[in-house]
Every structure is written in structure tokens, then in C-alpha cells.
């Protein structure tokens, strides 16, 4: 819940300070650095957990399968939209 609140705080701040373009380069740096660190730490906490490490092939396989079904589901669900949106087939 806190995450959502902070997220929208960022949106509001960004909208208010739109004129100060510098804020966007700062937010760029902020997101990049925190993202790298977070992924590193996620890796570390997974590496420390021997249950997960021993399961790595299973996790990888599940990742591939879930990517497949989620993408395919999304693609199939948008197909009816071609009838609703104006056609522009070439």
C-alpha cells in the first residue's frame, strides 16, 4: 500500500514540477541506481537461500512457461479488438 502512495506522490511531484526539466534527469538516475541495487540484492537474498538455488532450473522453466502463456493470453484477448478499431490493413 505504501508503495502505491509513494508512486502517486512521484506522479504528482513530476506533474507539478514539469517545468523544471532537471527533475527528470534526477529521477532517471534515482530509478537506475535503485533498480540495479534492488536486483543485486534480490539476487543475493536468493543466492543465500539454498532451497531456491537448488530449484533454479525449475524456476527458469516456470519463467519461460509463464512468459509464454501470459503473452499468448494477451495476444488472443486483443484479437476481437480488430473488429472494434478502424481497420487499416495494408
Amino acid at each position: 500500500m505504501i508503495v502505491i502512495g509513494i508512486f502517486f506522490l512521484g506522479v504528482v511531484l513530476g506533474t507539478i514540477c514539469k517545468k523544471y526539466h532537471k527533475i527528470f534527469s534526477y529521477s532517471e538516475i534515482l530509478t537506475t541506481v535503485s533498480l540495479y541495487l534492488l536486483l543485486l540484492f534480490l539476487g543475493i537474498s536468493i543466492g543465500k537461500n539454498s532451497d531456491i538455488v537448488n530449484n533454479m532450473t525449475q524456476i527458469g522453466l516456470k519463467g519461460v512457461l509463464f512468459a509464454g502463456v501470459a503473452s499468448l493470453g494477451s495476444i488472443l484477448f486483443i484479437l476481437p479488438l480488430y473488429y472494434i478499431f478502424p481497420k487499416k490493413e495494408k
Binding site: 509513494i6 506522479v11 532517471e28 530509478t31 509463464f66
Partner: protein, 201 residues
């Protein structure tokens, strides 16, 4: 694609550090991660507010534009839910959580991990990265088989930045605008959905 591979490498480096215990256990990684996640979503919020003209796009294309992200989200959730039925160790909640990533690998995996589910977080990271990489590689084939909206659907939230390049290249400019709108909408939806799923299910 290089960018997502770089992130994957950082993640793998982390796993190696964890396995070989290269970091003192006195450091509370989970606590630091919590605050880092706050910083991350704050920065993401600011970045998203920059995508101008969203309202303009909605006006031109009418509200039915929302149908695209809506159907993409439903498709992902239904697909994941169905696959989850085959796994006894993945509950309904986690199946939905994995589907709700919508290609937003960083935020979805980190949020799920923050709720204490490291393994599902790792699966979310891998599966959502694959969505991006697969879209980048297979965009031409996907378009040929399923039309110009299909790569937007397979990409999910990344259809506003990383995969936008191939979507523009292989379709047209109008599609690119739809793609951007979709990416922004899904990026806002991902943290909402994951919070909803993990807070209330």
C-alpha cells in the same frame, strides 16, 4: 535488449554473491531493499508523469483505447491462471501475481519479493524479461500472425519504451502512439494489481 540482459546479469551476479556468502550477514538486505523500492517507485512515478499528451491521445482515439490495455491485462491473468492450475506449488494468488507483471519485470518481481515470496519474485523477473526479449526478437512474426496490436500485447508495459522501437519499425506511427499509451497505462496498473492481489487474496 542489451538493457534487459544487463539487468539479468546484475541479478545473476547477486545470486553468485549470495551463494558464496560474499556479503556480511549483519547487513539487513531486506530492510535496505524495502527503502530502495520506495525510492524506485518514487522515481518511476516522476518519470511516468513526463509522458505528455496522454489526455490528448485519449481525446483523439476515444475511450475505447482503454480496451487494449484492459484486454491485454485480462489475457495475461487468464493465461497465467490456467497454467498455474497445473502447478500444485503455485497458488491462485501467485499465478495472478505472475500474470500481473505484464512485462514490467523490475517492479513486479521486486514487489512480489517484498511481500516475502522470493521464489515467485525470481520467476516473475525471468518470465517478464522473456516477454520483452521475445517481443524484440519475434515482433515481425508476431505481427504477421496476429496483426499490429499483437506485439503491443506480448510486450505489455514495455510497449512504451524498450519494445516501442521494434513496434514502430514493423508497424506504423499511429500504432506507436497506441503502443505508448498502452505502456503507460499498464505501468500504472502493475503496482496497483500486485498490491491488490497480494494484499487482499
Amino acid at each position: 535488449m542489451w538493457n534487459s540482459l544487463k539487468l539479468l546479469l546484475i541479478f545473476l551476479a547477486g545470486i553468485a554473491i549470495g551463494i558464496f556468502q560474499l556479503i556480511p550477514s549483519s547487513i539487513n538486505i531486506d530492510k535496505i531493499s524495502e527503502y530502495l523500492l520506495y525510492l524506485l517507485v518514487f522515481g518511476i512515478g516522476i518519470t511516468i508523469s513526463r509522458s505528455e499528451g496522454i489526455l490528448k491521445i485519449i481525446k483523439t482515439y476515444h475511450l475505447k483505447l482503454f480496451l487494449l490495455p484492459l484486454m491485454i491485462t485480462l489475457g495475461s491473468l487468464v493465461g497465467s491462471l490456467l497454467l498455474g492450475l497445473f502447478y500444485s506449488d503455485i497458488s491462485l494468488k501467485h499465478s495472478l501475481g505472475l500474470g500481473a507483471g505484464l512485462g514490467y519485470y523490475s517492479l513486479s518481481s521486486l514487489m512480489i519479493s517484498q511481500y516475502g515470496f522470493k521464489e515467485i519474485g525470481a520467476i516473475a523477473l525471468i518470465s517478464n524479461i522473456i516477454r520483452e526479449i521475445a517481443t524484440l526478437i519475434f515482433a515481425p512474426i508476431i505481427i504477421k500472425c496476429f496483426g499490429s496490436f499483437a506485439p503491443i500485447a506480448s510486450a505489455g508495459a514495455t510497449s512504451m519504451d524498450t519494445t516501442l522501437a521494434v513496434i514502430i519499425k514493423y508497424t506504423d506511427k499511429e500504432n506507436a502512439i497506441i503502443s505508448m499509451f498502452n505502456g503507460v497505462t499498464l505501468s500504472i496498473l502493475v503496482p496497483l494489481l500486485i498490491t491488490l492481489i497480494y494484499q487482499f487474496l
